[in-house]
Structure formats: structure tokens, C-alpha cells
């Protein structure tokens, strides 16, 4: 079996998960395609560093996160503003504490696109962490390895990310007239 075949067998099975994570990071499907392709090429280039029997999905996600961070840095150098959750929340008025009387009913009113958009507006570290914990249901330890931080940081990022996501959805709800201030 040649190297490409071995790689495809090990890595392409995780394509959907890597793609979903790319959408979570990028917010848009076109940019996500681009990120996924670069991730697989980079992974193929470094396949020798992958230890068979270890978590291939986590390995791919870590590579993707590194590529994404490199891209963010380039954007930052180019003078582009990065989407920061604090800025977005500040615009909506963070002092308005949202009280959801029935969270489960309320969040069902949002479309998938709105939920994904709200996620994409979170800070990069919270966005990926929350996605990996809630959507991919990875363990805190795996997420810590992927994102290169301590498990405690994963917990706090997840918690802050979920709170920020709730605030984003609450602001959508206000705009849609589904919730009061």
C-alpha cells in the first residue's frame, strides 16, 4: 500500500468532522473547503509524524487549528480586524442580562445557519473549543491536546463560549422579536 493510500485510509474517514470544524472556524463553507484541503495536504506532508493507533481525528484537527492560527496572524499583520466576541457582544449591549424563561423552546426558533453564524462570531479559542466539546463530543483532555492548553482552560473556554453563544442567540432573538430586553 503506498503512502497516499495509507494516508487516505487513515485520514479521509474523518473528512466530515474536519469539514464541520472548518465551518465552525470559518463561518462560511467556501473558506472551509479551502481550509480542509490545506489541512489534508499538510497532514499528508507530515504523515510520518502520525503514530498509528493514536487519535487521527485529533491529529488532523490540531493541524487544522495551526493552519487557521497562521491565517489569523497573517490577517492581523495585514491590518484586518478579527471578529472578537467581546466587540460583538458590546455592540449588542452586554449590560442587558438575558433571561430565558424556556431556553429549549427558544433556541428551537433559530435556523441551523443562525446557530452556526452565532458560533462563528465567538472568539477563536472559544469557538473551536465549544465546537469540539459540544458537537464532536471529544473529551476535555483531547481538546486540551488539540488546542495546546490545560484541561482547566478547556473547561473555562467551553463555559465562556457557551455563555457568549447564548448572548449572541439572545441578541438574534431580540431582533426577531422572540425575547424582550
Amino acid at each position: 500500500m503506498d503512502s497516499a493510500e495509507t494516508f487516505e485510509k487513515a485520514a479521509l474517514g474523518h473528512l466530515d468532522a474536519v469539514y464541520r470544524a472548518a465551518v465552525a472556524l470559518c463561518g462560511g463553507r467556501q473558506e472551509a473547503d479551502d481550509l480542509v484541503q490545506e489541512t489534508y495536504l499538510r497532514a499528508f506532508e507530515r504523515f510520518e509524524s502520525f503514530r498509528p493507533g493514536t487519535n487521527c481525528k485529533a491529529w488532523l484537527l490540531r493541524i487544522m487549528r495551526n493552519i487557521w492560527i497562521d491565517r489569523l496572524r497573517r490577517k492581523k499583520i495585514a491590518g484586518n480586524e478579527l471578529p472578537l466576541a467581546e466587540q460583538a457582544v458590546a455592540e449588542e449591549g452586554r449590560d442587558k442580562e438575558t433571561v430565558w424563561s424556556n431556553a429549549e423552546d427558544l433556541i428551537e426558533n433559530f435556523s441551523d445557519e443562525q446557530v452556526i453564524k452565532a458560533l462563528s462570531e465567538l472568539q477563536e479559542d472559544q469557538r473551536l473549543t465549544l465546537f469540539l466539546i459540544d458537537v464532536e463530543q471529544l473529551s476535555q483532555e483531547d481538546v486540551a491536546r488539540i488546542t495546546g492548553v490545560a484541561t482547566g482552560t478547556v473547561k473555562s473556554r467551553t463555559s465562556r463560549g457557551r455563555a457568549a453563544l447564548k448572548e449572541r442567540l439572545a441578541s438574534y432573538a431580540r431582533k426577531m422579536g422572540l425575547a424582550g430586553h
Binding site: 473528512l15 469539514y19 499583520i77 433559530f110 446557530v115 459540544d134 463555559s159 457557551r162 447564548k166
Partner: protein, 261 residues
């Protein structure tokens, strides 16, 4: 009554059976937990039906096959062609092409299972990235600003190259090497663009061989070749300064000797 902390909620959501007694008697914490669960489940369902397109999967397979075919037949890599409606993805393919340039000599990498060769491939990959027309650099006329930038990204200030004699720093940038963040200077020289990549790894662990020549200041130099690139490395303090470029070792040694003098 002490309510459950946010971190404990995360443990509960991970399936840890903790604080059950408190949850039984505290409606407030039960509501908070239900809300967190609802958000998590809604997030999960939003992505539930999302799959990579067959087109993306095909494109990745084709690109990998093209890379493998090029390696085995020693022919130039043919990039997977773009359909007209996806021309907006050109930057992605440009990136892919840059990586493929590195993939061709990866036959050595795969055949020898050499981590040192893999490291050299990564260094050359960083240099190839630096050569891309759309590569963004942090650039500033003041060397202090460049040093500040690298310090903020790397946590230390690498030695700053001395320019002049036809050499000018285009900018500096960071990239990942062996899953760590490293900095590189991109320098225009009369012989072409070179990258000086600063890594913590010792030259020997990068698979480099000792050169008989030394720098003007008497430092030991190490060299390697990968793809069309030459590499000459000098160890200063805790860091290796690796000059990479498509020029001879002799001239690269001269350049790095001048730059780090």
C-alpha cells in the same frame, strides 16, 4: 447554599456524576444545567446534517494521487484542475501548489522515514510559503518594531540580522515547525530571497552536516539540501538560525555570516 460552579457544570456535561445531591434540591442549578444542555444539543443538531461535499473529497484524493504519481514517476506534479465555477478557490490551490512543491521530494521523506528529512521539508515549506506573492509579513522600517513583534509572538527576541550590502529585510512572520511556533526573517539579497528561520532545535537534530568553513565570527556552520533549496545553520545561544534559499551553500554561508555578524 453554594451553587455549582461553571467548571463543575462542564464536568457534569461531560458525564461526570457529581453534585447530584445539590442538583436534586436546587431548581436554579437544574435550570442552568438544562439551558447548557439545550445549547449544546442545538449546536450539535445544527452541524448534524453537515457533510463535506463529494467534490471536496474527490479533489483531495486527486491532489494526493497527483502528488504520489509525481513522486513515483519523477514527473512534475500536475495540479488538480479547477472547474470554472470554483475559480474563487484559486488561493487555496496556490497554497496547495506551494505545498506540492515540497511534497515531490517527500519521496526521500517517506522512503527513509527520517524525521530529520521531515524537519528539512518543513523548513523548506516555510521558505516556500514566504515566497508566495500573497504572503503577508510584519514589516517596519524600525528594527525595534520587528523585534517587538517577534517577541510578542515567540516570547523571546531573536538576534536581528544586519543588513546593507544589497540586503534588506522584507519582513518577519511566524509559522509552525514541528507543531511549534517559530519566527522567520525574509531577506532580499542580490542572489534572491532567503528566509532565516529561528528554531530551538540543534542543527544535528535537523539532519544537517557540519561544514568545514566557519562564519567570519568563527561560529560552526551546518548545512543540508532539500528539494531545490540549500540550508545553512548557525547556532547562537539557545537558538539555531537556519538560512534557506535556492542558492549555493557557499553563498548562503557568506550571507548568513554577514547577517549575523
Amino acid at each position: 447554599m453554594n451553587h455549582i460552579t461553571d467548571e463543575r457544570f462542564e464536568d457534569i456535561l461531560q458525564g461526570e456524576e457529581t453534585d447530584l445531591a445539590h442538583l436534586r434540591q436546587c431548581q436554579d442549578c437544574r435550570d442552568r444545567l438544562a439551558e447548557k444542555k439545550a445549547i449544546a444539543e442545538r449546536l450539535r443538531s445544527a452541524f448534524g446534517s453537515m457533510h463535506a461535499s463529494p467534490e471536496l473529497a474527490d479533489r483531495i484524493s486527486q491532489t494526493l494521487n497527483a502528488a504520489t504519481a509525481a513522486v513515483t514517476s519523477d514527473r512534475p506534479v500536475k495540479r488538480v484542475s479547477l472547474s470554472s465555477h470554483r475559480r474563487q478557490l484559486w488561493p487555496a490551490f496556490a497554497a496547495a501548489a506551494a505545498i506540492l512543491i515540497v511534497l515531490v521530494p517527500l519521496s526521500v521523506y517517506f522512503n527513509t522515514s527520517s524525521t530529520a528529512k521531515a524537519a528539512q521539508a518543513e523548513l523548506v515549506g516555510i521558505h516556500q510559503e514566504n515566497l508566495r506573492p500573497d504572503r503577508e509579513f510584519f514589516s517596519d522600517a524600525e528594527p525595534e518594531k520587528l523585534a517587538e513583534y517577534l517577541k510578542s509572538e515567540l516570547g523571546f527576541s531573536p538576534a536581528f540580522p544586519c543588513t546593507g550590502q544589497g540586503m534588506a529585510i522584507r519582513g518577519c512572520c511566524v509559522a509552525h515547525f514541528r507543531e511549534r511556533i517559530v519566527g522567520s526573517y525574509v531577506v532580499d539579497t542580490p542572489q534572491g530571497v532567503i528566509s532565516i528561520i529561528v528554531v530551538t532545535d540543534r542543527p544535528k537534530s535537523l539532519g544537517m552536516s557540519r561544514m568545514s568553513e566557519r562564519t567570519r565570527s568563527g561560529q560552526t556552520c551546518w548545512k543540508a539540501s532539500f528539494a531545490r533549496c540549500s540550508m545553512v545553520t548557525v547556532r547562537l545561544g539557545d537558538y539555531s538560525y537556519c538560512a534557506v534559499g535556492e542558492i549555493s551553500h557557499k553563498y548562503l554561508l557568506e550571507l548568513i555570516s554577514r547577517l549575523l555578524s
